[in-house]
Symmetry: C2
Subunit: 277 residues, 2 copies
Amino acid sequence: MENLMGYLGPPGTFTEEAARSYDKNGTFLLRPYPAFDKVFSAITKKEIDQGVVPVENSLEGSVNLTFDLLSGNTDVKIKGELLCRIKHFLLTAPGQTLSKIKEVYSHPQALAQCRIFLDKLLPDASRINMSSTADAAALVAQSEGKAAIASQQAAEFYGLEILRENIQDEPFNITRFFILALVDAPQTGDDKTSLLIGLHDKPGSLFSALGILANYNLNLTKIESRPVRSELGKYIFFLDIEGHRKDKKVSQALKELKEKALFLKLLGSYPRATTPI
Amino acid sequence: MENLMGYLGPPGTFTEEAARSYDKNGTFLLRPYPAFDKVFSAITKKEIDQGVVPVENSLEGSVNLTFDLLSGNTDVKIKGELLCRIKHFLLTAPGQTLSKIKEVYSHPQALAQCRIFLDKLLPDASRINMSSTADAAALVAQSEGKAAIASQQAAEFYGLEILRENIQDEPFNITRFFILALVDAPQTGDDKTSLLIGLHDKPGSLFSALGILANYNLNLTKIESRPVRSELGKYIFFLDIEGHRKDKKVSQALKELKEKALFLKLLGSYPRATTPI
């Protein structure tokens, strides 16, 4: 059987680019899924071996959804992370020029990230929101006077011309992706561990939980609180710490943390990504 | 001159509902803006007196964008917060029935939040992503066999029939909104303060900063880390604490925090929202 890797589609989005970068040797067959939860259920049903979803600074959808799904009743674990530089391209159907563009289509975040470019070079063009950069690319492929902001991948997929490249306002726009599977990754010596803990909403409760990590000299690379919707007065915290759950000091800290928290769920340990691709 | 309140449009979204709820007495004229940054610049240019944007668990766009804009070079402050229960409605053009629906349109998060309902009652209908719930409502208004998941407000605005109400999987789906203006709010005795601090990315640095808040017995109601994109190895933290920046213990804690942090930016103090509307 062929190895299958799912990703949050449609084809031509930055998530497809991330999946291709992760699968450097091309050993996986890529399969797009239309929604975050479809990627999760495809892994659970073993339709695919692993799946790629955006996590932070994403263009194709909400970060929250990835964390909501991970925190729910699922067996899916994080087995990898990937950092990608997001480059935006101004794309049109063949034969268009900048002066002909009356409308620019893209995901709202992509439009926002190219605001300075648009204000300067296309001040009179309408900016129209789409649900993904790939949908914007598909739409402009059939029309004159319309441009899309999307990835280079989308230009190839939809046969578009690149009118301008690297049009994002910030030169370094990095999106983080998770690689998900039914088991997390083995120790490599340079790992991260993602977890969530539930705490009472009272002064000092987070401080005292973080004290455990400080005691073991574990660096916290991400923290995010989320109110528990069904129970006011309780909070969930998503934490990323450096180290693998099987490393001695990590496993000891997690044990102490579990005693202090209302609950603790391990989301997975995986090799730390350092350089964006 | 009439008082003007801007909000993240289009009309018919949950953000419009939130703006109407906040302006109980109808003293403001509401004006939709097509993007987060347009709301901010309208406040700065004094086109509007205040603006309403979603902050957490939003359907119309990214939370991140609100925080990115607040953390940037802006004079805009948070002067209020609002919690709204998000209720989803299945809407169609007049005269449709459930059995005729072949396609369901909405924002990806709204579709995800109604997954159980859709799996049960419309298992064979395609689910199609739109950039907002209001865009979905506008689209189905002109067609047969199509339904939108959107707000009650959208049903009224686009003249749609409500086929089913409260179709979200979780009974309590709460979205938080900020009311923004050029000045924050005066003390009421039950306030919150939002701020961001920059810290070195090393073990214990957050722990030691939170120790200051714990010392003053200040409750932390939100925390979120964000890497500083241009400078790897540094982190920004968004914090919400209970109390007003003019309260004695808050002002003392902020002073100590400022000494410890790489930088500190006050985003505003405002009355705490307790019950969702």
